[in-house]
């Protein structure tokens, strides 16, 4: 139901990996002397890399300020990366279902549609509980569901009902096919909700 920063992590790790690999290759070339053979202006193997006076470089206040700013920027980026790891629901806000706003707007909260989906899933035999979350836009909606069934439920039957009734009904309501659908199934020892239903058309005589 919640989204993680998988794409961001992969991108950042690829960039960091390329930088680390480039640094490692450079150090290996320097240590083996290959770099100096390729370019005599570079330092020789087993000789100090920095030969000048470092104090002259980092002495001025401007250099210290630059190092400080760079450090703070890197720290902030790292902090943002950590914060991006918090799982987010990223649910849609309100779906705009009007075509011509001049004649009036039509708004439907995504949670209203989610509640309708939940109540429909809750009527399926064997379902103990359900929660539904809509993401995306009204023209490209995405549906994520968490369905809890009891340990006697026919899971294939529940999935079949969701695929043939619940998802098509939502597509009918939004008048567009769903772009993506996710179902998370859990099994619980609780009784199914529909197990308490009493459907009758007859008369009860006491």
């Amino acid at each position: 139901m919640r989204q993680h920063a998988g794409a961001l992590n992969r991108t950042c790790l690829v960039i960091l990996g390329i930088l680390a690999l480039a640094g490692g290759v450079l150090i290996l070339l320097m240590a083996s002397g290959t770099l100096q053979a390729m370019n005599p202006a570079t330092v020789a193997a087993e000789s100090p890399v920095v030969t000048g006076d470092l104090d002259a470089v980092f002495g001025p206040a401007s250099a210290k300020a630059m190092v400080l700013v760079a450090g703070v920027a890197m720290g902030a980026l790292g902090l943002l990366w950590i914060l991006a790891q918090i799982p987010r629901r990223n649910s849609a806000d309100r779906y705009r279902l009007h075509q011509d706003p001049a004649s009036g707007t039509t708004l439907c909260d995504a949670s209203v549609l989610g509640s309708a989906v939940e109540s429909q899933i809750n009527t399926l035999p064997g379902v103990v509980g359900a929660s539904a979350l809509l993401r995306g836009t009204a023209t490209e909606p995405e549906l994520a569901m968490k369905v809890t069934v009891n340990n006697r439920a026919d899971i294939q039957d529940v999935l079949h009902s969701i695929n043939t009734r619940v998802i098509p009904d939502l597509a009918t309501a939004l008048e567009t096919p769903l772009r993506r659908t996710g179902i998370q199934l859990e099994v619980s020892g609780r009784n199914a909700i529909s197990g308490t239903t009493v459907e009758t058309t007859g008369t009860v005589v006491y």
Partner: protein, 131 residues
């Protein structure tokens, strides 16, 4: 002769008096028109809006902004699930505009619709029913 007749007609119009239509009248008419649609409903019960529940037999809540003879309506409505929401609300918008205009003479410029709940026809499925 014509001037005399016109003056008499003007006096006749003045003597009829004025008809003032309250904003609430428009709200109730629009609300009733909306509730006549089989797929639409409102909320009932509760106290000061707390504890109200969705009800297909209740009238949807309508608020009207009037500017002269032009009205802008805001409708909070519940709909049957699953109906095509765009088609249903467009049908509702058209019907409210036509009926309010026909019954009151007020031109309905906009009808803003907010869907507050969606409920399947077999709303009692999954619950205990009182016999």
């Amino acid at each position: 002769m014509n001037a005399t007749a016109a003056a008499a007609g003007s006096r006749d119009l003045d003597s009829r008096g004025r008809t003032v239509l309250d904003r609430k009248v428009l709200e109730k008419i629009a609300s009733q028109v909306a509730s006549e649609e089989s797929f639409a409903g409102g909320s009932s019960g509760g106290f000061l809006g707390i504890g109200a529940h969705s009800d297909f037999s209740a009238r949807p809540r309508v608020t009207v902004e009037l500017a002269g003879n032009i009205a802008v309506l805001s409708v909070e409505i519940g709909l049957l699930y699953p109906v095509p929401l765009r088609q249903a609300t467009e049908q509702l918008r058209r019907r409210i505009s036509e009926r309010v205009n026909a019954l009151t003479g007020v031109e309905v410029r906009q009808v803003d619709i907010t869907v507050t709940w969606l409920k399947p026809a077999d709303e009692y499925a999954g619950r205990r029913r009182l016999l």
